[in-house]
Symmetry: C4
Subunit: 230 residues, 4 copies
Amino acid sequence: MLLTALREEVWQANLELVRRGLAIFTFGNASGISREDGLVAIKPSGVPYETMRPEDLVVTTLDGRVVEGDLRPSSDLATHLVLYRAFGAIGGVVHTHARYSTAWAQAGREIPCLGTTHADTFYGPVPVTPPLEAAQIEGAYEENTGLAIVECFRGLDPTEMQAALVAGHGPFCWGKSAADAAHNAVLLEEVARMAWLALALNPGAPPISSALLNKHFRRKHGPGATYGQK
Amino acid sequence: MLLTALREEVWQANLELVRRGLAIFTFGNASGISREDGLVAIKPSGVPYETMRPEDLVVTTLDGRVVEGDLRPSSDLATHLVLYRAFGAIGGVVHTHARYSTAWAQAGREIPCLGTTHADTFYGPVPVTPPLEAAQIEGAYEENTGLAIVECFRGLDPTEMQAALVAGHGPFCWGKSAADAAHNAVLLEEVARMAWLALALNPGAPPISSALLNKHFRRKHGPGATYGQK
Amino acid sequence: MLLTALREEVWQANLELVRRGLAIFTFGNASGISREDGLVAIKPSGVPYETMRPEDLVVTTLDGRVVEGDLRPSSDLATHLVLYRAFGAIGGVVHTHARYSTAWAQAGREIPCLGTTHADTFYGPVPVTPPLEAAQIEGAYEENTGLAIVECFRGLDPTEMQAALVAGHGPFCWGKSAADAAHNAVLLEEVARMAWLALALNPGAPPISSALLNKHFRRKHGPGATYGQK
Amino acid sequence: MLLTALREEVWQANLELVRRGLAIFTFGNASGISREDGLVAIKPSGVPYETMRPEDLVVTTLDGRVVEGDLRPSSDLATHLVLYRAFGAIGGVVHTHARYSTAWAQAGREIPCLGTTHADTFYGPVPVTPPLEAAQIEGAYEENTGLAIVECFRGLDPTEMQAALVAGHGPFCWGKSAADAAHNAVLLEEVARMAWLALALNPGAPPISSALLNKHFRRKHGPGATYGQK
């Protein structure tokens, strides 16, 4: 079997979505890529987390040809593949319908950076795509979903903003690996929830200053990071 | 004992309401029908989930005559029976007082389709009945509750919209089986919650486009469905 | 030891508050009364639920004299006693700082009867006292808290409305027994939560009709009740 | 190894944050001080709670020199040290990103004292600092965070108000010990949540009277306390 370590990691990333309360039933999906092999392992479509095994994952090429696996891949495969092709530095993608993240997507609002919890992980407001046009939906819908994310990342660095909301749909997150993408999906839900709570108290709450954003993001990310054990 | 397989399935559907946090104490009830036999199995009235056994379910005809069971049937039996008579394709009915679904019913508002999570299961806004009139309440109340749902489904296909809110009361859901009805009750609560959260962020959030509604509903339902493993 | 059966029941009622998420740390307290003996058993003050045993409960007369127990009784004892003296039909009292019930008390608002979940247990809006005056607080505060509840029950039947909110404080519930009072405290929190959620969707949501209130309350209470197994 | 009892207590205080739902991943940190030794034990930076052991804690002097421990101390160490130096009576400090407490901090609002649950622990509104200026952030940020708290405590007694919100960041709590600080962090989250819920019902809800605030705070704190077992 191909890519057993990647399968194991992607399988765990999928299970993490359930453990953290981000997915019920068959909601959500995680994938990971082996850049050396140009192959992606992704959750099969509509398979319950409870019975899914690493060998149930589907392995495809970057253009979506299945090279291993008896099951159909996640219906969101094409979205994942667009992100892998456009964002060359990422190693994993996660899509969820987590409650607060999805609420922001359904409201069509970016998540403003209201605090340091947000700034520790996401470098600025988490962007939201515009609603897809009928033509984008009726055509190659899943691919167009990915392209809408990429379009809305012009001017943004996908290694510093590892999440996007698709309007009327929900969040896609990514990271250095499938595990990292799942970690970011948990953090996104947490900051989505805190921002939701804060705006109820103060609808005009301003974003934190760029000085505070930079301080917190740079404590944890990049060459000057001081957080954690090195 | 009649219908042991149906009893088992209906029993499990009732327990699922507790497992998923949709029912406390003796709240809620699930039933299932054997169309061949013209018999319905339903939860007994006011019996705790913790001690209820498949043999405690009550079996009745479609006009409510008990044919097996020592206990009284759920006080909502007559509502279930109206739905089975009116919606010939359904195999199970579930009623809950789940928090978010009930909040929408108490607010007297239909649940708008604000996102793809909703569209994956419910084909459009989840309708809410008007408040029942005093005469409807003081007469055959439980039957009239069912008739109010049926009345509000004129023009709707109960296989594509498998839920209704009864104003000032709560949700009724149905499906191909009791298990399917319980599954829909869980999904209704989930989308009720997401829509609630989204409207707090944007009270004027528009429903998703019909193109997006169709795309998601048809990915999962009907002859062109591509979701899951076939 | 006096009243071992009552002690056991009151102990269980106290533990139920923790199991149902109505109390953290040493918050909340439950008591029960033996009307034949004129004796009340109540939780000791500030003792953690984890280590409390039935024999730790304090037994007092109706005027608050401790007749058994080495520990101090709950600081809210005097409030419980006022309720036992004023409402001769009740057998148990529960006080909590449960989140939604307390939020209504802090907002100084009665809980309107927005749905049948509410009407199944509470016959109309759950009343809230006015804020206590400084003189009431600086005097016999706990007793005055009980008197404020009794005052606000003029015209109400405490067997049909088994809960009150004390403004700026929280809920007191009662019932036929300590277990019943705890059961009502759980139901109060549930309807407090649903009403909270519903008003966010529709701040002007009207109460249900008196026809619907009567139908649901009378299905479960009084001589014409049909709910459950008799 | 130095201060094994303190290490054990601080370790437990850190774990309490996870058990009570106040911290996910590596969020939050607790410390404790031995006033006799002038030494502080604090959580190491970015170490998961699941694997952290008492011997992983870092022991420092009050000016931040590490005297024992192979790991880096929490990035918030300097904030803790400012509080220990300014508030001579405190024995433990806890910082979290708990959801409701943080929401108030992100909204830039003090938490008003809307009820007795609040008054039982916090003597008045829980203060919030002003946003830090760019110069404070780009300089000794963590130390300046502590100084902002101290500045906003002019006229407040840190033994009667054992919590502060840092604007755009989150809560810091303290107490007689690390365990007490963690206990206060749990209580702060609880009252932050209740006040949040209450204001949604009544945005103009007034604080409780000073008579009620005094009654409840003094029942539990100071020489006249009557709550609990003495």
